[in-house]
């Protein structure tokens, strides 16, 4: 079993929206059909996107930090949006675990959007069908592309490599290793949807120094003050060696 997924490293995401624009650029001209925009330069712009970068402030000034949070379909292993679909337009591919919408079967009833707790499905107001991230299914299997480019557009566009792409069911894949070793977690675990996409948390590198490490403890008396004059007259080890 294969379950393709993204792993998003919140520690390095800088919130540049390159993944958003590259996703839109690739998919609006890909098999998903165009992702319609209305009034893009007008007063009340709106449009269909597969991927959004949101920004959260954690803590209160001055003890706060900004977390940029890219959000697209999590390709749940138990997707709540799939069983509710009355037509079968929404489905999960058994071979690679990608959750897709068949745009020719979708009736635009929006039930799947209501059944997704993450809000990653958006209806296209012009084609009147539900649209969502395809993990760039028309890129990742395209043998005309060099192997290094058979990745979702967002992954290739990320300037900080905050997005990893791979099979989370393969324990040795880059994504599985990242999830296992860097504390990868799933969103809203309380609903049992088992999202395939994972997030890597913010991590701080801190050096831990104990107080006794700030003073010499191995032989403090050699330098800090004069050698004690003791009853021993012959040479000690300290008299003949130094390190």
């Amino acid at each position: 079993m294969t379950q393709l997924a993204l792993v998003i490293d919140l520690n390095v995401c800088v919130g540049c929206h390159a993944c958003v624009t590259s996703c839109k650029e690739w998919n609006t001209s890909g098999v998903a059909g165009y992702l319609s925009d209305d009034r893009p330069y007008g007063e009340d712009p709106t449009g269909t996107f597969f991927n959004r970068v949101q920004t959260f402030e954690v803590g209160e000034y001055p003890n706060c930090e900004t977390v940029h949070f890219p959000k697209s379909c999590l390709h749940c292993e138990d997707p709540p949006c799939v069983p509710v679909c009355p037509t079968g337009a929404s489905y999960k591919r058994p071979e690679d675990g990608i959750v897709l919408v068949d745009y020719d079967k979708c009736i635009g009833c929006k039930y799947c959007a209501w059944a997704c707790p993450y809000g990653v499905r958006e209806i296209d107001t012009h084609q009147k069908v539900m649209k969502k991230c395809t993990l760039c299914i028309d890129r990742i299997y395209d043998e005309a592309l060099p192997v290094s480019e058979r990745k979702p557009a967002c992954v290739l566009a990320c300037p900080t490599s905050a997005r990893l792409f791979g099979d989370i069911h393969d324990p040795d894949s880059n994504v599985s290793v990242a999830i296992r070793e860097e504390g990868g977690y799933a969103l809203m675990p309380e609903w049992g949807t088992k999202p395939a996409n994972h997030y890597l948390p913010r991590r701080k590198t801190r050096i831990r120094i104990h107080e006794d490490e700030l003073v010499r403890s191995d032989n403090p008396l050699k330098k800090e003050r004069e050698r004690p004059v003791g009853p021993v007259r012959e040479q000690t080890l300290d008299d003949v060696t130094s390190w």
Binding site: H17, T46, T55, F69, P86, C109, Y111, W114, E190
Partner: protein, 317 residues
């Protein structure tokens, strides 16, 4: 959705009332010449169900593909509803036709006074109850919409639909079959009172429930103080339009009291008044008030659901 669920609710309730009334009449006084009443009420019930079906097409993006929605009956309650609704329409129509034939001896004398209507009605009753279950489960099966994910949703849909159907049957009976008015009126009041109990129970449940999803679980960041600064868009999106209503909490509160008044005490008083002075107009007013109240009730039901996705869409900018 509001119009669909309330209209088919009345249609189903009206049929349940009819069928219950037929049993009552057969047990107590034999089926008298009230064929016109059964036929009219069945036609009305079918009309309401079809009107609901038509209303449901308006919320589809691609109504021309609606036929596909019967495909996933194994997993989807919406698909099941799409299948059961036409079955109910057909069975109620058949029930009305059977009464028409039974009340016109010159068409088919061998059918008169048989129990065919009871058999057809029995099957139709099962279908109507299944339809109530399907409609309510569409909402109740989404486990993270905590306001809906309760068996009370099923009880409310069934009882509120039945209450409005019995109220309508009371008004119709006053005009077409006066001997059944008291039966329908009393049961309309009883069903309305039971519906009041379950609806208030769900209101209490929802004010007490604790949100399972928070910004902490939505982002995976463990901090008591997380504020959204941007949702990744400057204008609106599907997510900001579909899952939010612009009503203020105070307005919602007023709407709740409005529907609690219009669905429960007002029709009960009007039914009691209408029964005592035997006026179709007052009984019709009872139904109209209850139906308007049900529209408000359904609007409130949809508005009360707090979708977890809203956690990601709190602040523009």
């Amino acid at each position: 959705m509001i119009v669909l669920t309330t209209l088919i609710g009345v249609g189903q309730g009206l049929f349940l009332a009819l069928y219950a009334g037929e049993w009552y009449m057969r047990i107590h006084s034999g089926l008298r010449d009230s064929g016109e009443f059964y036929v009219t009420a069945s036609v009305l019930s079918v009309g309401l169900l079809i009107a609901g079906l038509v209303a449901s097409f308006f919320h589809l993006g691609r109504p021309e593909r609606a036929w596909r929605s019967a495909a996933q009956w194994k997993t989807s309650w919406l698909s099941r509803e799409v299948i059961v609704l036409p079955i109910v329409v057909a069975l109620v129509a058949l029930y009305g036709a059977a009464h028409y034939v039974a009340s016109s001896p010159d068409i088919a004398p061998w059918l008169v006074q048989r129990y065919w209507t009871l058999w057809i009605g029995g099957v139709a009753t099962a279908a109507v109850l299944t339809l109530f279950l399907c409609t309510a489960m569409i909402y109740a099966c989404i486990r993270f919409l905590q306001e809906w994910a309760t068996p009370l949703t099923v009880f409310n849909y069934t009882l509120l639909g039945s209450a409005s159907g019995f109220t309508l049957a009371t008004a119709l009976a006053q005009h077409y079959a006066a001997e059944m008015t008291l039966f329908f009126g009393v049961w309309a009041v009883v069903v309305t009172l039971v519906a009041l109990a379950t609806r208030v129970a769900s209101l209490i449940r929802n004010t007490r429930s604790r949100r399972k999803s928070t910004l902490q679980t939505a982002t995976g960041v463990k901090h008591q103080h997380i504020t959204q600064r941007s949702q990744g868009l400057m204008g609106g999106s599907f997510n900001t339009r579909e899952f939010f209503h612009s009503a203020s909490p105070a307005w919602l509160q007023r709407l709740m009291w409005l529907f609690l008044l219009l669905v429960f005490p007002v029709p009960i008083l009007l039914i009691v008044a209408g029964l005592s002075v035997k006026m179709t107009g007052i009984l019709t007013a009872a139904f109209v008030a209850q139906y308007i109240g049900l529209l408000a009730e359904r609007w409130f039901f949809f508005a009360q659901a707090q979708h977890p996705q809203n956690l990601y869409y709190q602040t523009m900018g």
